[in-house]
């Protein structure tokens, strides 16, 4: 466990990305959301203030990348200003949670490389909105964490089926699947922990685990409206290949 409260800088932009930034009109909100690059698989976005995810694995990975950015930003915000009634254990746990999410985010960013939707804008270019949460109290911070964590668990559980195994994706889907499930169970561990802090024996309560003993699973279309309040843009997941 790291007890460092310092924030992690993101991976520096690579030279190629930097040049693109230098030569582009970064201020354009349409470009911000385009995720445009030299990969033919990616369809540039044209709608202003909307992030349109593409109908392939790049789209799926960008969806997860966005979820991890959201979570990393959330835990960073709490770590930057711990609630007054946070105990030493709470601080240590939230620091761990922040670290894990930052590592998830940066791993996905590295994997996406120039296919990351925000490749031209560095880490956390989107300013996520957490004003619907009360982060000044322990219970508020944990309640917010519970909301985000249960959502993250269900999102991961709902996405592995969507990895395409057709010819175009055959080389990579196994590697991507392995990577996703390695992060998925850590999200579940987080969820169980934060739930328990709010209510004894809620780590796998009936509101998240059904009578078949199954955790939740949500499609991107189900997740998108649930995270809309935290995003400064509109997320369009309609093109993602649901199978």
């Amino acid at each position: 466990m790291s007890d460092s409260a310092s924030s992690f800088p993101g991976r520096p932009l690579r030279r190629r990305s930097f040049l693109r930034v230098a030569g582009a009109t970064v201020a354009s909100s349409a470009l911000l959301l385009a995720g445009c690059n030299d990969d033919d698989d990616v369809t540039p976005v044209t709608t202003s203030n909307t992030l349109v995810l593409t109908a392939n694995t790049v789209g799926l990975l960008n969806y997860l990348y966005l979820l991890e950015q959201l979570q990393a930003a959330f835990f960073q915000k709490v770590v930057d200003a711990f609630p007054d009634d946070f105990t030493a254990d709470d601080r240590a746990a939230f620091t761990d949670l922040r670290d894990h999410e930052v590592i998830h985010r940066e791993t996905l960013k590295y994997t996406l490389d120039t296919n990351a939707y925000d490749v031209n804008l560095g880490t956390n270019a989107l300013a996520f909105k957490f004003d619907s949460f009360n982060l000044s109290s322990r219970s508020g911070a944990y309640a917010a964490a519970r909301t985000l964590k249960d959502l993250s668990v269900a999102a991961y559980n709902g996405i592995s089926r969507m990895l395409l195994t057709d010819a175009a994706e055959r080389v990579t889907f196994q590697a991507h699947l392995k990577l996703l499930v390695k992060m998925a169970s850590v999200e579940s561990r987080h969820a169980a922990f934060v739930r328990e802090q709010l209510q004894s024996n809620s780590f796998a309560a009936p509101d998240v685990v059904d009578t078949n003993g199954l955790d939740g699973a949500k499609t991107p279309a189900e997740v998108a409206p649930l995270i809309a309040a935290y995003l400064p843009i509109t997320l369009n997941v309609a093109a993602l290949p649901f199978i």
Binding site: D96, T111, R161, V181, K182, S185, V186, R189, N201, G213
Partner: protein
């Protein structure tokens, strides 16, 4: 514990054991390390792991094969918690919220058994004829939770190790998603059992977190957190290489602790290694 006597005894049963141990010195090191951390009763696990270095692999190729493997593990877990809740030795310490938690977990394991049995239909394997014998697992509350952590963490690894198999076995995505929804619940259980070990009744083991840092076994059998076979596919929980990136502690533009990196990812394990570890600590 006399390590050499154990090896010697094994040689009587399996004359080729030393050939199977891919690396004699590392095997002995593993056993030595284990002796410091765990009860003698669990020693067979280490030996099982030593075999796995040579023999372990993912041998399941069909969905039914994977589901029967999962069914065996779920039956084992259900039996484990059921016996714990009925054990006279645990009547006093396993009370209140702790008992409720274990009842909840037992209920989930039973639900998984029911679901898998139903999904397999006539292809479902029969129950082990003589049930499951967990030895001295219920001798003390602390020992029970140590075993529980081992079973839950290895359960997570077992499901994870089959995800690609399911996805490639004709791509039955409903099966994959269901397996991952179980996998997710096992991870919740694992996190909570680990959290329970921090409590006073379990000895205030506050170094234990709900997530796995490095390959720390916290007194559970070390092979539960070790590498499977092949190592490149099923590395130990201390792994810091992910997604084709050699070392995440330094490759992401900042320096991250190995403990944090390893905790951010759980690792899969092949079916042979999982089964051998189970068989070396549980009689069934």
């Amino acid at each position: 514990m006399n390590l050499f006597k154990i090896i010697s005894e094994l040689e009587k049963v399996d004359p080729e054991i030393m050939d199977r141990l891919t690396h004699r010195r590392s095997a002995l090191t593993a056993l030595g390390d284990l002796s410091k951390k765990m009860a003698l009763a669990a020693a067979p696990i280490a030996i099982g792991s030593a075999f796995n270095k040579a023999m372990g692999q993912n041998t399941l190729t069909t969905v039914a094969g994977v589901l029967n493997y999962a069914l065996l593990l779920e039956r084992l877990e259900y039996s484990f918690y059921d016996q714990a809740l009925k054990a006279a030795t645990l009547t006093v310490p396993l009370t209140g919220a702790a008992r409720t938690a274990i009842e909840t977990i037992r209920g989930h394991e039973l639900a998984h058994v029911t679901l898998l049995t139903s999904a397999l239909g006539t292809a479902a394997d029969p129950q082990p004829a003589n049930g499951f014998n967990f030895g001295n697992a219920f001798a003390t509350y602390a020992n029970f939770l140590t075993f529980a952590q081992a079973f839950e963490d290895i359960g997570v690894r077992a499901y994870k190790g089959q995800a690609v198999t399911i996805k490639t076995a004709g791509n039955p995505n409903n099966v994959l998603q269901t397996a991952l929804q179980i996998h997710s619940v096992e991870a919740r259980h694992a996190a909570h059992i680990r959290y329970m070990r921090r409590g006073a009744t379990a000895g205030n083991q506050t170094a234990i977190m709900p997530w796995i840092m490095n390959a720390d076994a916290n007194g559970a059998p070390a092979p539960v957190y070790g590498a499977g076979n092949p190592v490149a596919t099923f590395p130990a929980e201390s792994n810091v290489a992910q997604g084709g990136i050699t070392n995440l502690t330094t490759a992401l533009g900042a320096t991250y602790d190995a403990a944090d990196v390893s905790a951010a990812f759980d690792e899969g394990l092949d079916s042979t290694t999982v089964t051998n570890i189970a068989k070396s600590v549980v009689t069934f």
